[in-house]
Amino acid sequence: MTAAAPASAPETAPDRKPGAQTDERLLKTSPVKRLLGRPELGSVVGALAVFLFFSIVADSFLRAASLSTVLYAASTIGIMAVPVALLMIGGEFDLSAGALVTSSALVSSMFSYRMTADVWVGVGVSLLVTLGIGAFNGIMLTRTRLPSFIVTLGTFLMLAGLNLGFTKLISGTVSTKSISDMDGFSSARAVFASTLNAGGVSVKITVLWWFALVALASWILLRTRAGNWIFAVGGNKDAARALGVPVARTRTGLYMGVALGAWISGQHLLFSYDAVQSGEGVGNELIYIIAAVIGGCLITGGYGSAVGSAVGAFIFGMTSKGIVFAQWNPDWFKFFLGAMLLLATLLNAWVRKRAEATT
């Protein structure tokens, strides 16, 4: 073996498969074992199982229209699951993510209604405010060294309170006033909440947002310096700090990433209708975390993938809509989700142990 051997490694492969290193000892690692080492494997197996299950029990599940409903449900969770997965790989939680989505929608709606005539101004202000809250989470965490569980639980409660309090103060009710007659409403709706028609199948634009975010996050994780830092900060933050990785900046960036996702989700929430219920979103933060964990993110950080979180969100979409297509009582949904979480986590742990024991 010479040092120059890996020169022919394919650089296009976005995964971590090895280059064309020629080493006789590598023969022992079969492609199957390589696959087993991928963080999203458990979730892909789970997704196939769920897909087969509902294909059998629900006749209407395989129709194009059903699939588009499933994709839409998956995308609304997936848009948030991607940055939440990155944050978890970086070793932290964000319990305020669900409330932040609603805050983002409320800020956008109320600012537009009160201050301007164009909804795009509200959308822009909302972006700044939401990113600001994300930065607040990150800075609180890195400055106080409190656990992220506490910091974001605090933010979550404050946001939930502010959402209700401000809305009542300004609108007098728990929902905002309609902004549908304002300038820019139709263009904003086109960007955040339109339905596209692709060959007779209707696809919600959130699905595109979702896919774009997955691609962007995968690129960041696997091919940029920031991605290396995210894995390192989550895997061993002391080692990362000692090697000169800006730990605080990386974490704050991750929280701002979650905020960006919350902004997109929030604008979708607003422009799907024309008003926002101020109590919405609470509880969703756990669903984002569940999607990321089902997708192979290690709860202790340092391991996971953006694609995995997408598969996790897809499982969520299939289960929540599949139950409806199977004409079951939707009350069963949470039971399924919980069982899925346990199974997926066990499967992931088992797979990883197998993969790491290859020597």
Binding site: M1, A3, A4, P6, A7, A9, E11, R16, K17, P18, G19, Q21, D23, R25, L26, T29, W219, R223, T224, R225, G227, N228, F231, A232, G235, N236, D238, A239, A240, R241, A242, L243, G244, V245, L298, G302, Y303, E356, T359
Partner: protein
């Protein structure tokens, strides 16, 4: 050898360094000299102040008193990054690597080479993989696969990756925090070989250990710490392994201990 070395400016020179944590005196009046192509060993029992000393050199802590010179220039590095930029690389016993990350990502962590422009700037993955493999080969480690998580390597191999990394990034001074403490006899030998190979490449090495045998195998200078103070500073010519072991174990305390143990044995 020592006479002409002394005329050169030391790569790192600490004089009369002191450090306090609140009311606790962690270090008092400690000196240290590191030259290129030499290994300076810092010996001491647990709690002697070894860790505090290297944390000052590594830029994790700042000293309260005394002078700290890098290549003759007085300084107080405020962060590990700053110390790194000045050529001081520290390899920690336990926090040298991120276990779940592939070897090549670990190798370049914190100093990743990139190509492309603007938002399309990306890791030069091919170069990173190739270089990691070549550099480790140079140190005598022939990895099957640079993609394996570094946690799957043995403790000795991990230390060697960290040393190879420091050498590759042009460190002038390599600070090793008890690199052999958690290792078996054979693994320790492997690590000591890499320490010596780093020295032969012209680096100055600070080797922290509580094992005088390991220190004497490779060391050129020996600094002994005890309860935060310096109890001895010798060059290799001035001291034998027996004396070093004796001093390290606390001189008279060792005699007492020997006496006590001999007494028990029939």
């Amino acid at each position: 050898m020592t006479s002409d070395v002394k005329e050169r400016t030391a790569l790192v020179e600490l004089k009369d360094i002191s450090k306090r944590y609140g009311t606790i005196r962690a270090l008092e009046g400690v000196g240290l000299e590191v030259h290129g192509g030499e290994i300076t060993c810092v010996l001491g029992d647990n709690g002697a102040g070894k860790s505090t000393l290297i944390k000052i050199v590594a830029g994790l802590h700042r000293h309260d008193g005394g002078t700290f010179r890098i290549e003759g220039e007085e300084c107080r590095p405020a962060s590990p990054r700053e110390a790194l930029d000045r050529g001081i690389a520290t390899v920690y016993q336990d926090l040298a690597v991120v276990p779940l990350m592939p070897v090549w990502r670990n190798f370049f962590l914190g100093s990743e080479p990139r190509r492309g422009v603007g938002p399309f700037k990306r890791l030069d993955v091919d170069f990173m993989r190739r270089t990691t493999h070549a550099e480790l080969l140079r140190m005598g480690i022939d990895l099957r696969d640079v993609d394996q998580p570094i946690g799957t390597l043995s403790g000795g191999e991990r230390q060697c990756v960290a040393i190879a990394r420091a050498v590759y990034f042009g460190a002038k001074v390599l600070v090793l925090d008890e690199p052999t403490a958690a290792l078996g006899v054979k693994q320790s030998g492997v690590v000591l070989k890499y320490v010596a190979s780093a020295r032969d490449q012209g680096l100055g090495v600070v080797f922290i250990t509580h094992n005088p045998h390991h220190a004497y195998l490779v060391g050129d200078r020996f600094v002994l710490l005890k309860r935060g103070t310096m109890v001895g500073s010798h060059t290799r010519e001035e001291i034998t392994l027996e004396e070093l072991t004796r001093e390290m174990a606390g001189g008279n305390e060792l005699d007492d201990l020997r006496h006590e143990l001999e007494h028990r044995a029939p």
